[in-house]
């Protein structure tokens, strides 16, 4: 069986958008992940703060890493996010994933995003469907 680090390494190698966000995986475990990034200018919306979609993307990537860490290919069915505090260019955001539930066919994950002052920026919850396939089956 693959280690979580191997699975996430493989995911990241092919993940163009997480690369664009310049995500850094601080730690990864079975069902867990801590991922961070700096807010850069291209991530800002028309009000000069981080675009809600980029915040969601950070949480969604962290969710995907934790969720696939057992090498059971899992797809997000849906997700929800609360926007709590604004972030601006230069902020360091860290997403921490908690596995709330893992079952044979589904999983539920909560992600909290905090800034460099440990203030809560966003709270996210995602539901995933497990396919039972390995991530290493499909791609060379």
């Amino acid at each position: 069986m693959k280690k979580p680090e191997e699975v996430v390494q493989r995911m990241l190698e092919h993940d163009h958008f997480s690369q664009w966000m310049e995500l850094k995986v601080n730690s990864i475990g079975v069902g867990s992940a801590v991922v961070s990034m700096f807010v850069k200018q291209e991530m800002l919306n028309g009000f000069g703060v981080i675009h809600g979609g980029v915040l969601f993307s950070l949480a969604d990537s962290a969710f995907a890493f934790a969720c696939n860490s057992r090498d059971n290919l899992s797809l997000a069915l849906d997700a929800q996010i609360n926007f709590i505090k604004k972030s601006v260019r230069g902020d360091l955001l860290t997403a921490t994933v908690e596995e709330v539930h893992t079952g044979k066919t589904t999983g539920v994950y909560e992600v909290k995003i905090r800034n460099q002052a440990q203030e809560l920026v966003a709270a996210f919850r995602g539901t995933a469907f497990r396919t039972g396939k390995s991530l290493f089956e499909n791609k060379g």
Copy 2:
């Protein structure tokens, strides 16, 4: 009072991330918006399909345009998305916003994203808080 087109024009001018997504505003009205984009390689995740966060971002931008169209500065409190169909590089995605509710302090908006074959790709719902300020007050 500003026209919806003027408001959205101003938002887009400053919206770096919507520019990165190369969003095209097909139409805009009071409480409504239709926005489209092509899926490009930088938007893909580790499974070769569009990153869920970019889909969310498309919906979130469309939501913000519709939501601010009365020039009442509005901020997203939370949002939810269901991922229904995969999209790949080159797909043309169109987000259509419906104003489900508009009140003095809050608004609720539903966004459907469809591909070039009119297949539903994602369903989004967002809740916004209205500040009562003009978007033209804060920025030169």
Copy 3:
């Protein structure tokens, strides 16, 4: 194959809480349902309006009826609701379900609750998992 009416009839016969709400199924079809009820005193919260959980329950029952209408036993994974307008004792609430997506293993349904004046009271979206079993297999 069972007709939607037969499936829902069977569900309702065993559904104690929908009976408590005195739900009336106005119409039922493949993937669709219209369900109504009157707001009664026992449904009110501490502010004299309908308890949010009872509104959710009305939508959730309507969702379950539409979702199981093909006699493919389906279970709710998650759901979201926006509370838009208050309802008081004596109001007639009608929940109308739209099948946004139906797939082999999952389905997505949107429910709108309106009052007797056709005003929107709540907007709900639910995600279901399909087991592939008949509802008539398990119970005598």
Copy 4:
């Protein structure tokens, strides 16, 4: 300023549906609440397990108690729930609220429902709007 216990006491006195559920408030604090109930027959759905709407109602009541504990009248804007484990008649369910965010105009609360074996049954998140009014202003 009213104590959390006084506020919740007042809410419960008028809350017909929480009374119907026979909710027991185990503890209440500023921004927190622990509430429990037994699953009774009238709460079951057509599949012999607790109706999703009743689970939601338990979480929603606990959310309302925590959310109003500062005597700042607050209304739920929206909420989301993940259904994780089935409950049957006789189960003892306990909802524990965590205040994720409290601001001047909004608040975000997470509720976890567990059964007598401490297994997670449901995860809920709600967003509230604060009116700035006292709960003791409106009612004799």
